[in-house]
Amino acid sequence: MSVVLDAKIPEGPIEKKWDSHKFHMKLVNPANRRKHNIIVVGTGLAGAAAAASMGEMGYKVKAFCIQDSPRRAHSIAAQGGINAAKNYQNDGDSVYRLFYDTVKGGDFRAREANVYRLAQLSTEIIDQCVAQGVPFAREYGGLLDNRSFGGAQVSRTFYARGQTGQQLLLGAYSALMRQADKKTVEVLPRREMLDLVIVDGRARGIIVRNLITGEIETHAADAVVLATGGYGNVFYLSTNAMNSNATAAWRCYKRGAYFANPCFTQIHPTCIPVSGDYQSKLTLMSESLRNDGRVWVPKEKGDKRAPSQIPENERDYYLERIYPSFGNLVPRDVASRQAKFRVDEGRGVGTTGIAVYLDFKDAIQRLGKEAISEKYGNLFQMYAKIAGEDPYQVPMRIYPAVHYTMGGLWVDYNLQSTIPGLFVAGEANFSDHGANRLGASALMQGLADGYFIVPYSIGNYIGSEGSQIKPIDSNDGIFVSEKKNVSEGLDKLMKINGKRTVDDFHKELGQQVWENVGMSRSASGLKKVIGDIKSIKAEFWKDVKITGPKDYTNQELEKAGRVADFFELAELMAKDALTREESCGGHFREEHQTPENEAKRDDSNFCHVAAWEYKGAEEPIRHKEELKFDHVKLTSRSYK
């Protein structure tokens, strides 16, 4: 039976919804807050910001992360910047325009009310970060500088060279450690969440493995905030960190949280191409480079000349040609797909032929090498190290790679999942980016959720339902049995003792998902891959080999648990892609395209969120949340 998902969107005009909702929320008296324990899993932008803010408010918070320090969460690697509707550049920006651009950029598959609130909060985020001492780029007069990102015609992106994520995360981390100093937050690093504990239908705690001692620990709380990031590593090769994984979110799904739009994954257009089968990850080259870099391929198929030998009139600056008004700054899904088309046509460059050029020659001539280095120095340096070529001299070779997942656990306007007391923030939820995220919006969403939304929602939850949240002991009852289950699950993996490594299986899975649930999807490919994933998974459970101890630090065991979950998630992604009979944003179904190869949406049948309910051995159930567009008119996206 399909249920109607209630997003709990507040009444009133869109500009007033958040303010009026905040007014109507229940509050918890400051003296009572210390009586409530909150668990936050993950210490990236969303998790660290939420834990720090709730600590400041007086709650007793436990913050968990898998890294050896909260400062290392993968938000740290975000390069280009963070959007905010400050209109400091006087170029016509506004909250409404950021809202509009984000809804349109997401190809009309996000919830208007959430996106509007995100745009509203964007300005407060910049204020907060500057107050913390985040060293954003500045102009000579001392005021903040901005640059442009894809899908927008204004300059609203704040940045700290190519290390914006690092600086924002270190800001949130410093706020978190300040609370650790004040003893309102206990930071528990090197812990991996392996299950969610539900008591009387509410999320009441988690089971974690201590990644040093191997001990299985139980932790109880009045509410759980999940901020564990996205699931891009299901593809094996992605721009995610090696340890980024979906396990915490997936185990919540298996405990009853619905998983929304799993097939909405973002393939980022500008990454350093794959060079060999030993490759462990892919490195992004920030979208900000498209401010000054021009994307091109040779007009001639199979042209093997060095780029400097190809004259101007034999080059195809295809983004500028096809999309004259946005040019190189079209949204990510569009830029990625066009790169794939060029490579599929045989116009790819480099030894593998699976790359296109991103050329800075004109910008260097126009602005000088120094100005380019000032803006992108660390990115150019990173490229030179990895590719072994100097991008000041030869154009970068780039190709799309998995970067971000718009899908995630379903949440309502309060960021609460379908399990009461389980809140989901940042990339781990599905809420704001629809079918395609615009550049510099992930940092904005992570911090909006963490600093400004989750702390209010938690207060409202405890304020209104606190009397039903009974005291519990993490050493008793269900915690004991769940702990035993988790431990037995690990035993099961260790005992297989087969002949293939975890990485070997992960690579095979990733290849299948990339080819069939990647930049381009078809019904036949999806049907086939569902079967293939099942058989690789069966093989994994028969033949994986994990060495090392269970009761001490063991990275192979950690990876095995994550890959086991990736198999199940991959299958759901393929099912979701198969049932969504349209193309939108990053989801491109070959059967649904315009004559110009653009994504063709089907608003009459698919203007909804697909939220999947776990049903054990049975097929999962697909529920719908209908999306209404009262402000941004449903039109076909055009960047021409």
């Binding site: 890294q67 060293p135 954003f136 340096q381």
Partner: protein
């Protein structure tokens, strides 16, 4: 990319240690067909695959983003934290910097304050404790003024950025004969002391952070400069001079008047 991938044979000597109290020892391993485009950690991945298939434990090492920004990877390669390449983390070190037939020794970061967990993995929580003692501006969520109300000259902002770029990897400690955390601590002290936002807590911050650093088993700084040379983010040595100055000024102010005398 060169037209032909060059491959090479690399002779590795790798530190193995079961637990903090285990004495530890080196193993030798020869890696064949190593592509010049591999990163050093990808070489370690390949070695691990071979070990696992032989039934041995994989070599434990910390790593995560593999983009040189998270500060997770460590390793001392041929005596240098993060290896021989200037301004480069281990994950960004590529095999094209080595030659066919090279012998490479791989060890954990070694310092009293960074106990070995297993093999090449060490415990760096001491760094978090230093930050916890004062590496922040005390501003609660929601209490900030408009961002452009705090103008900061470009030069100052750039200087602050340069030190704020520290990734907290600990190479400075591993490189130091004294196992000092002065470069790490001074990077954060400098970041906050340079900016207007950091002024209110400027003195208490440096006192707390330096004292915490000293209590955690890090050695004293004797200005050898090895930290600056090994730093993948090129945090300048002058940060330590700034920290010392900040510390002395704050300490003098902190003393009761009678102790200083004559004032």
């Amino acid at each position: 990319m060169s037209e032909i991938h060059k491959t090479m044979t690399i002779h590795l000597k790798i530190w193995r240690q079961k637990s903090p109290n285990d004495q530890g020892h080196f193993i030798e391993h020869t890696a064949k067909n190593v592509s010049e485009h591999m990163s050093f950690l990808e070489l370690m991945d390949v070695v691990n695959q071979e070990l696992i298939l032989k039934g041995d434990d994989a070599i434990e090492f910390d790593h995560d983003c593999r983009e040189g920004i998270c500060g997770t990877c460590s390793m001392v390669i041929n005596g240098n934290p993060h290896g021989p390449e200037k301004a480069t983390t281990t994950c960004q070190l590529h095999m094209r910097k080595f030659k066919d037939g090279d012998h490479i020794t791989v060890e954990p970061f070694r310092a009293k304050a960074f106990p070995v967990v297993k093999d090449l993995k060490v415990d760096r929580t001491a760094f978090d404790k230093i930050i916890t003692s004062g590496g922040y501006v005390s501003v609660n969520t929601g209490s900030a003024q408009d961002a452009n109300n705090i103008p900061i000259g470009k030069h100052t902002a750039d200087l602050a950025f340069e030190v704020a770029a520290c990734i907290g990897c600990g190479a400075c400690v591993a490189a130091c004969v004294n196992g000092s955390a002065a470069l790490f601590t001074s990077a954060k002290v400098s970041h906050m002391a340079l900016l207007p936002q950091g002024q209110a807590e400027r003195e208490q911050r440096v006192l707390n952070m330096v004292r915490t650093m000293e209590s955690l088993g890090f050695g004293n700084c004797s200005n050898t400069g090895a930290c600056e040379l090994s730093c993948p983010k090129e945090i300048p040595l002058e940060s330590i001079a700034r920290m010392n100055r900040e510390f002395y000024c704050a300490e003098v102010k902190e003393r009761p008047e009678k102790e200083i005398g004559g004032f």
